[in-house]
Subunit: 354 residues, 2 copies
């Protein structure tokens, strides 16, 4: 595998569908670009990758992914700067994490060379789909599914690694209010909560739909045993600003090791903002809200970037958070997006030129 | 929907592949019959079901099932008696349970009429695939997958309900030894453990593969919080015979409400065998094994029927279980299969003639 670029077989679309897309009115994750990256794992080996027109898969109804949820994914973004250069943000971390997720789900790891060469070639092909201007980006979805035709409950011997891309703007439109979980939970100790395993997400849909009916967009999950500790929001890690200190839960086997999360922690340290990475209790946050010490809550994730939370409810107690002039959420969002869009220095080498 | 039989569109294969199958050498869940049942959910309505040749699906790579594991399934079996009559076992319970699973996974419930008419017509079509003789059966796999093309983490608006069938013999060949879980776990309180959600199964593959390396076929999962309580085996509920009393964990939001499990409990009551449905601790089972009071452990599930367990390990302590002449496992397996194959009375009306 000395030159993986030679190893990728590319079939282009005869005509792009880009002219049919309204880039000013994008619903998140509904429109896909012209091409996709596909690599099959057969007989213990990842085969020659292909980039081909985005198209339906032909897959047996007995493929294990349908029955046993043996599937993992990643979320990444590509950004375009004013010089038409394309950038990604810490993509090595996504590669590492998809392999961590795969390991936990008994899926073979995907080679780094294929991952990066696939991304690079795919993004060059789709460069017109990446629009300039903060807020515009190309959402990139690498994922792996178990394709073997067999309905016994054991790991598959064949898999498909794919990358599909979707032009996006913001993930959450409007105000986001959250419910702190009291009964439902997202992950068990010793389970797969730290992995981007497909089933972790579907399992949240029903409790989240109940939250929607109460007027909340998201749930902040608490630990399954006691519901006393605030963990993550399922699509975002969560930060609490109490006074001028940021609090966030430590990563664990229940909590995703978010790339935006760790970037916020680094940026806080760079800017002399105190961060406490420790278990955060529901009761301390409610007390801080009552006393006025709780200034902000925000989510951090690739899709949402930084998402301010305007209020929360727990056990019938409702709290609204004030709009601040010196919001940390705005500060970190600006810092992060400046780096992502090549508008500022990048002291930690997070930007990756495609 | 007054006569659902009129509502199913049937396309038969031109030639059956049954002559290519060696029914004396079946690997579980690898061979599929000639036809499958398919029903699509579109615009809020389950559409006209179809029975068609078993064939690959054409499905978008952005279908939510691949990304968010929004998928549930059931396991059922059909049996043939000496008069060539086809029977199922408590299928109403499978229909109820797939809808309970669907509800938890934010999937629309599937109508009972379609479920039973689909099963009936499909099994009549596949009747030659159901072989006589105890141990032979047709494994039936209803499942639902989210098909909408959208990679935002929320419930799909389109689904596919399917039934595929696979001729089977026994699920576990040979001796089954188990490991009691000490670190990994299967389900969280407030999670989806009681549902046959696809992701519950894939999440067990890695810990189970570690158990395999230690010489154990399965894990008996313990509660995620303390690992002190024995719960289920992932593909089977678990019974412990201490003295002449059967112990099994109560159903909960972490434990599947197994149909074989509740049939065993009923048969025990019918036959004056004492059953205690209560939390069973690791320490009491280890103590009982040391004192000789622990006579048997067995699993109960549709695929495995009743599966005796010949030994277990916990925290480095290994225990072998004796072979008994008056085994409860054998007793219940005989009772159950006699009912399933129409060889005995059926006082509880569990048999369902197809």
């Amino acid at each position: 595998m000395s030159d993986p670029s030679n190893a990728i077989k590319i079939s282009k679309v005869s005509e792009s569908k880009i002219s049919t897309v309204d880039f000013d009115d994008l619903e998140f994750g509904k429109i896909f670009t012209d091409h996709m990256f596909v690599c099959d794992y057969i007989d213990g080996v990842w085969q020659t990758p292909e980039i081909m027109p985005y198209q339906p898969l032909t897959i047996a109804p007995s493929a294990r992914v349908f029955h046993y949820g043996q599937a993992v994914f990643e979320g990444m973004k590509a950004f375009k700067d004013d010089q038409d250069q394309i950038w990604m943000f810490r993509p090595e971390d996504n590669h590492e994490r998809i392999n961590i997720s795969s390991h936990r789900m008994a899926i073979p790891e995907f080679p780094k060379e294929f991952f990066f060469e696939g991304l690079t070639q795919l993004l060059h092909l789709e460069k017109d789909w990446i629009k300039k201007g903060k807020g515009n980006s190309l959402y990139i979805r690498p994922f792996v599914i178990a394709t073997e035709e067999a309905i016994s409950a054991s790991p598959a011997n064949s898999y498909k690694f794919m990358i599909i891309c979707s032009p996006v703007q913001s993930y959450y439109a409007g105000e986001v209010k959250v419910l702190f979980a009291e009964k439902f939970s997202r992950a068990a100790d010793g389970g797969v909560g730290y992995a981007k395993a497909a089933g972790n997400y579907g399992a949240q849909f029903y409790p989240t739909s109940l939250a929607h009916k109460q007027g909340y967009q998201q749930i902040i999950w608490t630990d399954a045993s006691t519901h006393e500790y605030l963990e993550e929001a399922g699509t975002m890690n969560i930060f609490f600003r109490v006074g001028d200190t940021l609090l966030t839960a430590p990563k664990s086997d229940r909590i995703l090791d978010g790339i935006t999360r760790k970037s916020v922690i680094q940026l806080a340290e760079d800017n002399n903002i105190k961060v406490e990475i420790r278990r955060v209790t529901v009761s301390e946050i409610k007390e801080a809200a009552k006393s006025g010490e709780l200034k902000e809550i925000f989510g951090a994730g690739t899709a949402a970037v930084i998402n301010p939370i305007s209020g929360f409810e727990h056990a019938g107690d409702k709290f609204d958070l004030p709009k601040l002039d010196d919001s940390y959420a705005t500060f970190f969002k600006d810092k992060l997006t400046d780096i992502q869009y090549n508008l500022s220095e990048d002291p930690h080498g997070w930007r990756y030129k495609v």
